[in-house]
């Protein structure tokens, strides 16, 4: 034990020496101290400003962030602070103000997705994706979450209800986009991405429905695998791809878990970023 203790202290001392040499070398090569002094002499420097300046210059000497700083500053003032006139503003169109509340639906689904990611991460720490045995590790871990884990059932409940919020807001968002004609030129691509996102949201919901591996999940899995198996020619391959076999096996849980926590999040997160980016670029189709 004492040996470990000494090794730890030697290691810390070694790091301190290393950092000291680095800083010394930096002082020799870069006149950072002089720049700092020059900036500080302009006055108005409180403690927080000094700290920020130190961190900023430290970053700059290593990553040369001055270029990115100028670029982002320009972008900020060009694109963000000065909003382009919207279509309705530019042509003085009479907007339909009472439709605006419907324009928060996409935001609600995005917020739901964030809440789902957070609560899902917590659940994923305790969930065991195994279907072998009776009761299966998946079911046993669900019992642990629901009965023993402090706040476990409430986290699962929030995850559960947020799913319903997300699906509902996605549906209503689509209705809003359709009935305001916002899917038309130039927003066709974003509509298609939205359709894909809606389908993936439903697959998200279904795969999550199976994870507890209780009797209800098993029944739902039976229906799902029957649907997959019923496809002409490729039925059993689709079933194997999605359910880990042409009949339900313990592997199904693991497969669904992987789809639910890895494949779908990667695809959906990417698509959401693209979806929002296109909205940002094209602007919102205002009701008029």
């Amino acid at each position: 034990m004492t040996t470990m203790f000494w090794i730890l202290w030697f290691f810390i001392a070694f790091i301190i020496v290393l950092v000291a040499f680095t800083l010394r070398k930096e002082i020799e090569e870069m006149p950072r101290r002089e720049i700092l002094r020059a900036v500080e002499s302009t006055g108005g420097m409180g403690v927080s400003e000094r700290a920020f300046l130190w961190v900023f210059s430290w970053m700059d000497t290593r990553f040369r962030i001055q270029d990115y700083w100028n670029m982002s500053k320009g972008a900020y003032y060009n694109m963000h602070r000065q909003m382009p006139l919207s279509h309705a503003e530019k042509y003085k169109l009479r907007i339909i103000w009472y439709w605006y509340p419907l324009y928060c639906l996409g935001g609600i689904s995005f917020l739901s997705f964030i809440i789902l990611v957070i609560t899902g991460t917590v659940l994923g720490i305790y969930y065991v994706p195994g279907g072998e045995g009776d009761p299966s590790p998946a079911y046993a871990s669900m019992e642990f979450i629901m009965l023993e884990l402090p706040f476990g059932y409430i986290i699962r409940a929030v995850h559960h209800w947020t799913t319903h919020f997300m699906v509902a807001s996605v549906f209503l968002h689509m209705c809003r986009v359709y009935f305001t004609g916002a899917y038309r030129n130039p927003r066709e691509l974003n509509w298609l991405i939205g359709v894909a996102l809606m389908a993936l949201t439903i697959v998200f919901g279904y795969s999550g429905y199976l994870l507890p591996w209780d009797s209800l999940a098993y029944g739902a899995a039976v229906i799902g695998i029957n649907l997959a198996n019923s496809s002409p020619l490729v039925g059993k391959y689709i079933a194997t791809l999605l359910f880990g076999g042409s009949s339900l096996t313990p592997r199904t849980v693991t497969r669904m878990y992987f789809i639910h926590v890895f494949i779908l999040p990667v695809i959906v997160t990417t698509l959401i970023i693209i979806h929002l980016f296109i909205v940002w670029v094209q602007g919102i189709a205002e009701p008029h």
Binding site: S136, Y153, V158, H160, F179, A199, I202, P232
Partner: protein
């Protein structure tokens, strides 16, 4: 590398040309400052997030998600119910059971993938039909042409309404098979919620009647709209602009009378004979022979059918009296999904004793390897002397008896072969004379009716093959034979006693009560009335069109208000240049359209306009300005009775 350099050159020159053009044109002005991130957006987002978190936590506390029993491949399929957002797919799956099912030879491709014949079954109907509404969603961007608001394009909004209505009705169809939402002639009902809990309550019969009538009311509405538009088109063709709104109003009322009359006249056919009439793809082959098959498919519990002692049923098999009220359901533990026999499974009235062989027999056993299990014995079937004194059972043939067994091994498979295939079972019930009352193998289960007496049973389960040689694998089995006493319930006329169990030995109560009681001979689940499925299937199609028609009518009236015509304008100012009044004495603010659109219509230009149509002819968006002036003037002069020529739509 050369190609990439060319691409770069092309992109650069494109950007140069674009920059030149943009500089030549008017620069898009940027005047409005956005909101700052701090504190405006941060505060707003915090408030919204907190609100949503509060709502979510409230629901999490109010209705936490259930965790049912562990998944068990051997268990009987219980009550499976999808989340609401996939109900539409579930509905197609259920509907697929009604649609024709056949096989398709798959040719050489089938040989390659090992599926020489493809079975087009209910599951594939469900999967394929689900693909249609999802696939349709990809189409709108390619059908619409230029950007339009729904008010400019009522057809698109109407199509959206039809789509949503169809999704709604197919969802109703999927759950209605369980919920009996449209169940008729029933004052009490019980239903299963998605957690498998039995919920009981009372519903007024008129509610069921209204639900039943909804598809036909919607049809009548559609008929009204269709008749009106067809007649209007005919009249406009015939009379031209002589067809005025006053005529139009009379036409609306006339169409209403015709459609209402037609709906009322055909309602009885719809209400009673829709199934026989074939509905809309509701029955395979449109024959009565298909009913039993359909009914066998619906194994979910819905309602209890009760026959009165003095049995009365109407011509469609309904019985108004003797419905099992909610209290009785819960009191008697009447619930078992996927089975048709439902009564007293918890032996609430203590008339069963499997140990003594009174009205029941059965046991649970286990063995290892090839030991096998055999059980032979007798049991008696008796009438409950407390609730059913001598002589009461005249009207009852016997006691409904469930004969069931099941078995499972601790290993599901040995070398890939299911262990269930290595077990053979047989269960036989015979009466004293050796007459076989029930006999089956493979534990398929049976339901028989036994008169009071003594019966013998023999149950055996034998293992074979690899299972018999492996002494480390345990096989569990259970079998049970249970005869159920019939339910005797006070009916609705019995006042406070209604729905409670009748005790025939309590003569004082019986004498004091003015009501009668009913005898639940075979308390099985009642299935949907046949005509109901036809109505629900019908609701998925024609009544959906009504929603589209209503949306079309509403948007059309909005379009006729010229609001959308105004919004076509993008301010090119050509009408303003062409306007002769404006040119000579109107200054900068005369053209009525241009000023209306700029929210500067003070009404004055309306009377300076010559209706020379110069602005209409100049308009690149084809806005019919002069007819707008005509309409406004007519409205001012004539008020509501003004005769406005039908110009828009």
């Amino acid at each position: 590398m050369g190609l990439m350099e060319n691409f770069g050159r092309v992109a650069t020159s494109y950007m140069d040309e674009k920059a030149k053009l943009e500089e030549a044109g008017e620069k898009r002005t940027r005047t409005r400052m956005g909101h700052g991130f701090w504190p405006h957006e941060a505060l707003r987002d915090t408030i919204l997030f907190s609100f949503m978190a509060a709502v979510l936590l409230f629901y999490a506390w109010l209705i936490p998600p259930p965790l049912h029993g562990a998944a068990d491949p051997y268990a009987q399929a219980g009550f499976v119910f999808p989340d609401w957002y996939v109900l539409f797919s579930y509905g197609y799956l259920r509907w697929g059971e009604y649609l024709p099912q056949f096989t398709v030879p798959t040719g050489f491709i089938g040989d390659i993938v090992g599926q020489p014949v493809f079975a087009w079954n209910a599951a594939w109907w469900g999967a394929a039909l689900t693909g249609i509404p999802v696939g349709i969603l990809a189409l709108p961007p390619f059908l619409g042409g230029r950007e339009k608001r729904p008010v400019e394009d009522p057809w698109f909004a109407a199509a959206g309404a039809v789509y949503l209505a169809h999704i709604w009705f197919i969802s109703v169809f999927s759950i209605n098979i369980f919920l009996e939402l449209y169940g008729k002639n029933r004052s009490d009902y019980c239903k299963l919620d998605s957690h498998g809990d039995l919920l009981c309550g009372t519903r007024a019969p008129w509610m069921a009647d209204i639900f039943n009538a909804v598809p036909w009311i919607l049809t009548g509405l559609l008929l009204w709209i269709v008749i009106y538009f067809i007649a209007r088109n005919v009249m406009v063709k015939a009379w031209g602009s002589g067809f005025t709104p006053a005529h139009g109003k009379r036409l609306i009322i006339g169409a209403l009378v015709v459609s209402a009359g037609a709906s009322v006249a055909t309602f009885d056919t719809y209400d009673n004979g829709f199934w026989e009439a074939g509905g809309l793809l509701t029955i395979k082959g449109l024959t009565h022979d298909y009913y039993p098959e359909l009914e066998a498919m619906r194994t979910q519990p819905t309602d209890v059918e009760v026959h009165e002692t003095n049995e009365f049923t109407d011509d469609r098999g309904y019985s108004d009296d003797g419905i099992v009220p909610a209290a009785a359901w819960t009191e008697w533990q009447i619930y078992q999904p996927a089975r048709e026999i439902i009564i007293d499974f918890s032996d609430t009235n203590n008339h069963q004793d499997a140990e003594e062989g009174i009205n029941a027999a059965g046991t649970t056993a286990s063995f290892y390897g090839g030991d096998g299990f055999v059980s032979v014995g007798t049991f008696t079937v008796t009438e409950d002397s407390t609730n059913f004194p001598d002589g009461h059972h005249e009207s009852i043939d016997g006691l409904t008896t469930d004969v069931v067994c099941e078995y499972r091994s601790s290993e599901r498979k040995i070398d890939g072969v299911n262990t269930a295939t290595m077990l053979t079972s047989s269960l036989t019930v015979t009466d004293e004379n050796g007459k076989v009352m029930s006999s089956f193998s493979g534990c398929v289960g049976d339901e028989i009716t036994l008169e009071p007496g003594v019966y013998n049973y023999e149950y055996s389960l034998q293992a074979s093959g690899p299972l018999a040689q492996n002494n480390s694998i345990m096989t569990e089995t259970t079998f049970s034979i249970r005869a159920y006493q019939p339910l005797l319930l006070w009916d609705n006329n019995a006042g406070p006693l209604a729905g409670t169990v009748v005790n025939l030995s309590d003569t004082a109560t019986i004498a004091a009560s003015s009501g009668t009681y009913s005898d639940v001979v075979n308390p099985s689940y009642h299935v949907n009335p046949k005509a109901l499925d036809a109505k629900l299937t019908y609701a998925m199609f024609i009544p959906c069109l009504t929603f589209g028609a209503v949306v079309f009518v509403v948007l059309r009236s909005m379009a006729r208000g010229y609001e959308f015509e105004m919004n076509k304008c993008y301010g090119c100012d050509l009408c303003d240049d062409a306007c002769p009044v404006r040119l000579f004495n109107g200054g900068d603010k005369l053209n009525i359209i241009y000023n209306s659109w700029n929210n500067e219509d003070d009404g004055v230009p309306l009377y300076s306009c010559l209706t020379c149509t110069a602005c209409t002819n100049a308009c690149p968006q084809l806005v019919n300005y002069d007819s707008y002036v005509d309409i406004r003037r007519s409205l001012i002069v004539g008020g509501l009775a003004a005769e406005i020529p039908y110009m828009v739509l």
